[in-house]
């Protein structure tokens, strides 16, 4: 398929909301596949696809992203100069509403579009933006965050992966972890230490690098439920041209702060395309009711209370995210308020997983091949429950951000502030 240049030229940058919605609706109905009712639920990081199916899913989503791009329905809030539409968050919301019940390029949203493309937009050079953002919006580049390290999850700025300058290049060594789907992704956004002789926040830089190259070994981590989507990468003398550095040398934390803001906004970011109501990771909007039906206990008053609670949390979450997004955009709330949405999502998703587990009773402990997705695997979902409170920054970190950055309470005492990073105490068992 080629870019439909005429489509793009014909579209007015200031397309009004209703015509946009109408155009999106018509196009979606004519071009996208309907998600069968009851098939949208994927539980909590279910291990329900083999590699072949996973790759086919990725390929289809790249294709759908490209179709959206060609139809002028990708990058709604990205500037037109980089292949976006330059429209408002309300347009993105309209698209999200029209997408309900249809397939969409889920794997391309987080982390490719937010936070990675959003960070590029904030800090990339003109050349970097022109090279990558249109490619991302066309589904040609899938990005991953090379952020967390095995030595420390929440202490992101304590990165040990190191970049050393060598002429016009940098040489990277170290390990990154918790990259979802790195084995089928293309680019990594990497936070690395470029100076060990200054305090930790002042010695970091950000780079971009192709994931599939001889000097990067991608190892797939098996989660407790058998899922192998999370990866760990080992970088050995990876050479990155200085033109692929994002932001200033040793000023990577300035980038990192925005990076983490975009990560907390995630599905509530106006850069992201996601059917309305699907915004919360884990168990989706309709599935609690479906599960209650399938369990045969929808008439049980206790079950009705639980179903209502799950729905209540879901609706409150939607409105909270809308409020925070609105507040951050208008300036009524600080960027740090994104942590409020993040904390709510994590805790609520965990609670919803517990509710579903409670509803299915003994089927949560044992099920048969004859049980469908509304009943089967719910025990494994429950074991994976805490993923919503860990992935994307722990809820404990969100609580620190809310109390310290939103409410202005005193910072936790740390031993790594005013000393050179090489002198900071590290775990005795730390790998490097």
């Amino acid at each position: 398929m080629t870019i439909d240049e005429t489509t793009h030229e014909l579209l007015d940058e200031h397309e009004d909301l209703e015509s946009f919605r109408q155009r999106a609706r018509t196009w979606i109905r004519a071009n996208l596949r309907v998600v069968e009712p009851g098939k949208s639920r994927e539980g909590v990081l279910r291990n329900d696809r083999n590699d072949e199916e996973e790759l086919a899913g990725v390929a289809r989503e790249r294709e759908v992203q490209r179709m959206l791009f060609d139809a002028g329905l990708a990058g709604i809030c990205f500037p037109t100069a980089y292949g976006g539409r330059g429209l408002s968050p309300a347009h993105q919301e309209a698209l999200n509403e029209e997408l309900v019940g249809y397939e969409y390029p889920a794997r391309l949203q987080a982390p490719t579009i937010a936070p990675c493309a959003a960070v590029l937009l904030d800090f990339g050079t003109e050349e970097q933006k022109l090279r990558h953002i249109p490619a991302i919006l066309k589904g040609e580049e899938l990005w991953m965050q090379f952020l967390s390290e095995p030595s420390g999850g929440s202490d992101v700025a304590g990165a040990l992966a190191t970049a050393v300058r060598d002429g016009d290049e940098w040489v990277l060594n170290g390990s990154k972890v918790w990259t979802t789907g790195a084995w089928w992704s293309d680019w990594g956004l990497c936070l690395a230490r470029t100076n060990w002789d200054v305090p930790k926040h002042r010695g970091l830089s950000v780079f971009m690098l192709p994931i599939h190259q001889p000097n990067i070994e991608v190892h797939r981590i098996e989660m407790l439920n058998g899922s192998k989507e999370f990866c760990q990468e080992f970088m050995t003398d990876v050479r990155v041209p200085d033109t692929d550095r994002i932001g200033d040398v040793d000023d990577g934390w300035t980038v990192g702060i925005r990076w983490m803001f975009h990560e907390r906004m995630l599905h509530n970011s106006s850069y992201v395309t996601i059917p309305s109501g699907d915004a919360h990771a884990g168990i989706g909007n309709e599935s609690v009711l479906q599960t209650a039906r399938a369990s045969g206990h929808l008439d049980d008053p206790r079950v009705r209370d639980l179903v209502g609670e799950a729905r209540m949390l879901n609706r409150v979450g939607e409105e909270l995210h809308r409020r925070v997004a609105q507040g951050v955009v208008s300036g009524a709330m600080s960027d740090q308020s994104a942590a409020v949405g993040r904390l709510f999502s994590g805790v609520t998703s965990a609670r919803t997983t517990s509710i579903v587990f409670e509803i299915v009773g003994a089927d949560g402990a044992a099920w048969t091949d004859g049980d469908d997705g509304a009943i089967a695997e719910i025990g494994n979902d429950f074991l994976m429950r805490q993923v919503s409170c860990i992935g994307g920054g722990t809820t404990e970190m969100a609580r620190n951000v809310i109390s310290e950055r939103v409410l202005g309470m005193p910072r936790e005492r740390t031993l790594d502030r005013e000393v050179a990073f090489r002198d900071v105490p590290r775990s005795p068992s730390s790998a490097s």
Partner: protein, 379 residues
């Protein structure tokens, strides 16, 4: 509270806030504990001059809104009522005024004018005693006899019934609901004051024994008032939710200030991670409560098909997490938080009353399930 107020709305909100700050500071609330009505008539009249009872009333009946959306404007008043634990029958007067404005055919002009001016009080008789005390249970009998209706039954809790000149009574006629506007001095009505947790709100049990009144007192259709009652319930929930959010906001702000101010072991409470994390949770519940309260108000005001679900989600969430927030505010204050001398209970009382009235969190959760079940069946 809404994030994006217009300058007019902001001015309107601020006017009520200033008035309440001056007229009903904490000392005045404590004084009113022993006042039979819980508020002074002059206070209510002057508050009504600020628009407290006019926002759900059409312009032809002497009402009007600030923004064109009277219910959203009223949520600003309710929010300030919560922030000041303010006295006065805000919910019942507005409900009756809205019902009269909607159905009035000239008969009740004087009462409506009095409600808007704050010179008359009226209340809504909706809830009933055990065993008919679940959300939506109505056993009160409204029987038609020739050109009259006859009321038999008990209503409680009825707010400010002993101050009211009129009661809007919701009851059952056969399979349907009816509503009758009854003067409180009609023969057969007895009003017995109840105890309550709020300092200034007053509730009564109202008994109707063969209360006989002209059929002209029926508001709307006999046996066909179901939709009208649903609308009144939605309005009551929106007002009560906004008020609870205001009370939560004030208690939270007060407790944050305390955490900075209070030192233990040589450090402010605000420096302890255990407490910081509790504050983060409370802040999240608070923002979530603002968000769902406002979304429900918008949905009710615009008559969205999602209004019932959203307003129940708001009532269930704000009831449950509002109480968690209030009790945590007490906990973080320590012993002083449980004393009469401290102010935190003034706001906890208001949220507690609102949580229990017009359906508990559990009742609204179950109601949500019924709503989405119907939606799924219809789809």
């Amino acid at each position: 509270m809404l994030l994006d107020l217009s300058p007019d709305q902001e001015f309107f909100r601020d006017t009520t806030a200033k008035f309440l700050r001056e007229q009903v500071p904490a000392a005045e609330l404590r004084r009113l504990r022993d006042h039979p009505a819980g508020f002074e008539p002059g206070y209510w009249r002057r508050g009504a001059d600020l628009g407290w009872v006019s926002l759900l009333v059409s312009e032809e009946h002497g009402g009007g809104s600030i923004s064109g959306d009277g219910l959203l404007d009223l949520t600003l008043v309710a929010y300030e009522f919560g922030r000041h634990a303010a006295p006065g029958p805000l919910v019942p007067t507005n409900i009756v005024a809205a019902a009269l404005s909607e159905t009035s055919s000239g008969r009740n002009e004087d009462l409506l004018a009095g409600l808007v001016a704050g010179t008359s009080i009226a209340s809504w008789c909706y809830g009933e005693p055990r065993p008919n005390d679940r959300l939506g249970d109505i056993a009160m009998e409204i029987r038609v006899e020739d050109a009259h209706v006859v009321l038999n039954g008990v209503k409680r809790p009825v707010e400010s019934a002993d101050q009211a000149t009129h009661l809007l009574v919701t009851g059952r006629t056969g399979a349907g609901l009816s509503q009758v506007l009854v003067p409180t001095d009609t023969e057969g009505i007895s009003i017995e004051p109840m105890h309550t947790v709020d300092l200034t709100r007053r509730f009564s049990e109202v008994r109707f024994e063969n209360v006989r009144i002209s059929i002209d007192a029926v508001l709307g259709e006999i046996g066909g008032a179901g939709d009208q009652v649903d609308r009144q319930l939605r309005l009551a929930l929106v007002i009560a939710n906004s008020e609870s959010v205001g009370a939560m906001q004030l208690a939270f702000d007060m407790t944050v200030e305390w955490a900075f101010d209070r030192y233990s072991f040589g450090r402010p409470l605000a420096s302890y991670q255990e407490l910081k994390h509790r504050f983060a949770d409370m802040k999240t519940w608070l923002e979530a409560s603002h968000a769902i309260s406002d979304a429900a108000a918008v949905a009710v005001s615009s008559q969205s098909p999602e209004a019932d679900e959203l307003v129940s989600a708001a009532k269930a969430y704000i009831g449950q997490y509002g109480s968690e927030l209030m009790q945590d505010c007490v906990q973080i204050h320590g012993g002083i938080g449980l004393t009469y001398e401290h102010d935190v209970h003034l706001f906890m009382r208001r949220q507690t009353v609102n949580r229990a009235l017009f359906g508990t969190p559990a009742e609204h959760r179950v109601r949500i399930t019924a709503i989405i079940e119907q939606g799924a069946d219809a789809a």
